[in-house]
Point group: C2
């Protein structure tokens, strides 16, 4: 039964000594996501209703909403966000934190590209095309921004809630969001990690004559 599961959403989540209940929950969660991705690729985002998703995932619509607060959230997992902060904290303290950010983001990009390239592209595509998804992504970016602010505040000895830190982190995160959109608009032809480097250069140095 498990062997016929098509196209896993997530890399083989560690399945150690979890109770049957937990394992089922994970299964349901990925079933809903997989159904959603498949339907969206077939029909597009707007044409895909929660009812269809529920049908294909073989659960009730109620259950879909129990697992994901909104339709947009189904395609925007965000389980990485928390990890990113951890990685930031795990970086050597003497490293310039701009470089820490660069390393972490590069790693995130690499992982996305290696482990689930189609989904990474689909997400970028949805983000560029569907306003609601883009909006939801921005929201989660805002959350990410606050976590990034923690890390930066810690490194720079500032208050997390200072205007300066908040403005700076928000601008960084928003700038990075723009990469994804750019990437999708240009049909994924560019190398995402190169775009990331260029974006980070702009964020660090502004629009200098040097960068193209």
């Amino acid at each position: 039964m498990a062997s016929m599961t098509p196209a896993r959403t997530s890399p083989p989540t560690d399945v150690p000594q979890l109770g049957l209940r937990e394992r089922k929950k994970i299964k349901t969660r990925t079933a809903i996501r997989d159904a959603t991705y498949a339907l969206i690729e077939e029909q597009g985002y707007d044409a895909t209703t929660i009812e269809q998703i529920a049908d294909r995932a073989e659960v009730s619509p109620s259950t879909v909403f129990r697992y994901f607060p909104t339709k947009e959230d189904i395609v925007l997992t965000d389980e990485e966000d928390a990890l990113i902060l951890e990685e930031l904290k795990a970086r050597p303290k003497d490293e310039p934190w701009t470089e820490s950010v660069r390393a972490i983001m590069q790693k995130a990009v690499r992982l996305g590209h290696e482990q689930q390239p189609e989904i990474t592209r689909l997400r970028a595509h949805l983000m560029a095309q569907v306003p609601a998804v883009r909006a939801r992504m921005m929201e989660s970016m805002s959350v990410a921004s606050h976590m990034l602010a923690e890390g930066i505040a810690e490194r720079t000895g500032r208050d997390v809630d200072s205007l300066e830190v908040r403005v700076y982190t928000m601008s960084v995160v928003a700038g990075l969001a723009e990469i994804s959109q750019y990437w999708a608009e240009n049909d994924f032809q560019d190398d995402l990690s190169e775009l990331l480097d260029r974006a980070l250069d702009v964020l660090a140095n502004g629009l200098t004559p040097e960068n193209t």
Copy 2:
């Protein structure tokens, strides 16, 4: 009849030789907005339904949607955006464009503060409190970002669609959005134009040891 109009939303819109039709449209538009602001102050955003708005504005719900595509749009007029680009283009060409941006944004802040301080605050408040409004605001910011990009591209001789310009403008716009949120979260105690200056400094110079 015009003299009993309560609390105009917008500064006395020029009422020259517009036909009766046009004048009524403007009236309806402001009636809807005024009703919305009033109801939101009484009950909060979520508790305010389109039906209530329609009732108070003495129009049908259909009409409300004919004037504003979404509920969020009723509180986010955005008529200023187009003006901003014009002002940018009207600036002396030899002025450093970062200063142009600063001057324009300062002017926008000043106008908002002088002409409709309550509404400016209400908007900032809603932006901070209501995710849907914040999201919609971000969307319109994204549009603003593209217009800003035009201006900057023109000044710097770059392509409007270059990654660098897009990342930069988006980060600026998002950074500026953050000051509104900061302002609202701190109960509007700060001077908005001072916050703006600080934010623009951060955006220009990054998190240097100089700025507090």
